[in-house]
């Protein structure tokens, strides 16, 4: 349990820096890609900002628990284990969620694709860290 929490916390800090830092840079470098976020579908009054920034820790703790349960299934070099872990997460969780999101919300395919790749990247980073911290 201690290992799950500790590796989850470390992965959370890492994902927070990488993901929000990447998003911050992405918005500044490629503003045109983010135009569609000026959409009433997205919360605009700031009352859920804290939840938005907690996401890195929510996903890292969830993945840390998942890793601890199924880590024996991932073999080889730690980077390979991280990649496979990310791929499993993307197939089992992200793909169905993104599918239903695209089919039901008035958002673009590019937006859904970027979320899919973003989630896959998060899981690969977390999996690689877990393979080192909780082998």
């Amino acid at each position: 349990m201690k290992r799950i929490i500790l590796s989850g916390l470390i992965a959370g800090v890492m994902l927070f820096i990488l993901c929000y830092g990447g998003l911050y840079l992405g918005i500044r470098l490629f503003p045109a890609l983010f135009m569609d976020y000026n959409n009433p579908l997205f919360n605009s009054d700031g009352n859920r900002d804290v939840f938005f920034y907690m996401h890195a820790f929510i996903i890292s703790f969830a993945l840390s628990w998942f890793w601890d349960r199924f880590k024996e299934l991932f073999h080889g070099h730690f980077i390979l284990r991280g990649l496979e872990f990310g791929f499993v997460y993307a197939m089992v969780s992200l793909l169905p969620v993104m599918w239903i999101t695209f089919s039901s919300l008035d958002i673009t395919f590019f937006m859904v694709l970027s979320w899919f790749l973003y989630g896959f990247f998060q899981a690969v980073v977390a999996g690689t860290l877990f393979a080192k911290l909780n082998p």
């Binding site: 911050y24 135009m35 000026n38 009433p40 605009s44 700031g46 920034y53």
Partner: protein
């Protein structure tokens, strides 16, 4: 004796006429009949704003509910009082980008407050038809999202070929003037700036 009484007899009708005419002359010197300004459907309202990633320009392209403004033109060079207003539908805003249009309508609380009401109060002077391009000032109140705020507006005007007066009012306002928080997305990474440049074009048919 008889000649002086004769001359006063001749002067009396002129004096009487003077007493009758003087008050009406004095009354006409300071006042003229109010002028009616009919707002035609060519009137528009444009709002220009920006976010940290893009600029937007949203327009109510026509005014489907013609209204009349009354100008009290008491003197030619001084300020004039105006009564009347125009009410525009927030739902008619078009930002040429469906997502932005919907977002602006939501931000301006279109479902609860469907109208923007511009009430005209005064002008620094009556537009001079012989000076085809001039700048004047005037006060208006703008009612948006249930909040009424008074502003001093700069107007440019031109006289159209068909004799209509085109009055273009511009003013920088803030979302916060109307207790509206500028929209922010993705945890504040995409932020709309507080300032909005409002431009309304009044196409006016004058009736005396």
């Amino acid at each position: 004796m008889s000649s002086s009484s004769g001359s006063s007899f001749l002067i009396r009708p002129y004096l009487l006429l003077l007493f009758i005419l003087l008050p009406s002359l004095a009354f006409n010197a300071g006042h003229t009949d109010p002028v009616k300004w009919i707002l035609t459907k060519e009137c528009t309202l444009k709002v220009n704003g920006s976010t940290n990633i893009n600029k937007f320009s949203c327009i109510v392209p026509e005014y489907t509910q013609p209204d009349t403004l009354i100008c009290y033109k008491d003197n030619k060079s001084g300020p004039i009082k105006i009564t009347g207003s125009m009410a525009l539908d927030v739902q008619k805003f078009d930002c040429k980008h469906a997502v932005m249009t919907n977002d602006l309508r939501k931000t301006l609380k279109a479902k609860v407050y469907p109208k923007i009401i511009i009430k005209f109060l005064n002008l620094s002077r009556y537009p001079d038809v012989y000076n085809r391009e001039e700048v004047i000032k005037g006060a208006v109140t703008i009612e948006l999202a249930g909040i009424v705020k008074r502003f001093e507006v700069d107007y440019k005007y031109t006289m159209n070929g068909n004799g209509n007066l085109k009055l273009i009012g511009t003013k920088q306002v803030n979302f916060s003037d109307f207790n509206i928080s500028p929209p922010r997305k993705l945890g504040g990474m995409i932020k709309t700036n507080n300032e909005l440049n409002v431009e309304f074009v009044l196409n006016i048919k004058t009736l005396n």
